[in-house]
Subunit: 372 residues, 2 copies
Amino acid sequence: MSAFSFRVAARDGAARLGRMGTAHGEVSTPAFMPVGTRATVKAVTPEDLRACGAEIVLCNTYHLYLRPGHELIRDLGGLQRFMHWDGPVLTDSGGFQVFSLSSLRRVDDEGVRFRSHLDGSAHLLTPEKSMEIQAALGSDVAMVLDECPPLPSSREEVAEAVRRTSAWAGRSREAYRGPGAVFGIVQGGTWADLRERSARDLLALGFDGYAVGGVSVGEPPDAIAAVARSTAALLPEDRPRYLMGVGRPQDLVEAVAGGCDLFDCVLPTRNARNGALFTSEGRVNIKREQYRRDAGPLDPRCSCETCRNYSRAYLRHLFLANEILASRLHTIHNLAYYLGLMAGMRSAIAEGRFEAFRREFEAAMAAPEAGE
Amino acid sequence: MSAFSFRVAARDGAARLGRMGTAHGEVSTPAFMPVGTRATVKAVTPEDLRACGAEIVLCNTYHLYLRPGHELIRDLGGLQRFMHWDGPVLTDSGGFQVFSLSSLRRVDDEGVRFRSHLDGSAHLLTPEKSMEIQAALGSDVAMVLDECPPLPSSREEVAEAVRRTSAWAGRSREAYRGPGAVFGIVQGGTWADLRERSARDLLALGFDGYAVGGVSVGEPPDAIAAVARSTAALLPEDRPRYLMGVGRPQDLVEAVAGGCDLFDCVLPTRNARNGALFTSEGRVNIKREQYRRDAGPLDPRCSCETCRNYSRAYLRHLFLANEILASRLHTIHNLAYYLGLMAGMRSAIAEGRFEAFRREFEAAMAAPEAGE
């Protein structure tokens, strides 16, 4: 019933160029998904997202379940209609936010009991409940409920999370009655054999796509890249691979080199609101005195709305005056940077020059902050 | 040297349809000027302003003088270039904010001594200084420094403010070396003879336009309308009349009926950020429970970006979740409402049916809040 499809159009080393089809349109991969936590990517409209090059957004099940509620969104025609975004939406399972935001969590094989960070109300998130919520939201890609152990966790704790994640994956897949695809999530921390076991369990169940979970919880960048690469190698060639919650631009390049296709992270949008901007010349901290009279654009090689129309001096003024427009213009730029990076990687893969792209990118990243 | 011009194209009773020419384009009057305090109309871009129908914006001299500084803006090419707004800009003199925001104010004939609300630094704002700042900003219309007495003030205090305002108006006019027009400001509170004296003094000096000042400091609406009407009648037919700081939609209609041409007020933008919205069906307080599942647009008769694309339920969700996008979408709608009201008045004047327009508008305003 699902309109979901995926095909690999080109390969360059382990890196892949792909097309993911959904009921709400196609996505070229490698793709970055801006995070629209509460059915809005903070400070920007769907038209802004399109102009930045976004083809898919991620929304957070935990937040939308608590407010305004998945049934309300279902009754109003689903997430796309609710937020006026006509492209694909991927939703997470809610599990990650339950662990990071709520209080009084208790996990057992049934699910996770927790209290809302908004009003302290008690809730039980089970695999079945997560899938029910995601079906009501109408997401194009639903994620199974998994258990993501914190860092550091013992091998025994991670092994237990793998066991529970596999059991929950089966129940999630069984319970899902929504319009979209369902992705399984590989856990296992940095233990190769646990990752293998987790992947084997999920492959036996069979999913539309597979995620690498349990990273981006504080590991060093090398560990993320290594886990992404080795886990991607365990996953089928003909399914998309989603590295959850990663990351910095250089992490994305490394993970694409390792064979990952989908990414999400709050970094570009959160940093934007804090005045920390990604440019082709390195990072820019807009509040610095050096930009006070700088009439140039944020990034001379960027053609986003912000770089076309505003100077660094004006952006600095807006940011220091705590003006709302600063968040909007900075978010537009950082997303344009991330989405431009993904487009650059796709072109490089298509043209068989991904390794050269990667080397050039690493050299540029090694440069100091612009103006330092 | 100034590119400034004004002509009355049609009259209907005391109401006038006019065209005001500036170096940055023409403005159809009656016109409402969105307030861009710190060189940004909060939460929206210049493109949003154009889409809402804005032809001119107002910026605040006090704020821009303190941060980022008028010399910086001058060196970066003036306000228009700084904020990426290619239309006309009117700046106030800074006096009103000195009186309302700063501390340790002391007024004498020289000017106003005050301390910055940002860092406590000491400043002296004189007529000459205000004009120097406004010239550096490059505004198309500069306002003379005036003394606006608070409410209540005695007749003696208001008479003294009229005397000082006239003296300062002469010095302002003499000192101005900028590219724009200069408007005088009529004071005099609710004393008809003081308003007459003030107007006579200013007319003797001769200005490109005249403002009605000293209203919108807490008077009842009837008093505003009466002062606007009687003061407008004292001013030349061939110059624009600007009613400063007013006001609610019904105040604008009354003041246009009384012969005023230009308006500014923070009400539509500030209310927007507080979730208080103006619609053709009356006021909407978006946080109300009644809008929780409301799939309809904010205003079914509005074609702004917000009403075209988003439901009341979604706007309520954004507002309650304290999302930045709520401020942006609400501001766009409230400005579209205000600017649409002005366009409606202009059409009515052009077609000789302003009194009918006014009666219909008053009847609609008398309706209870939508949904009550």
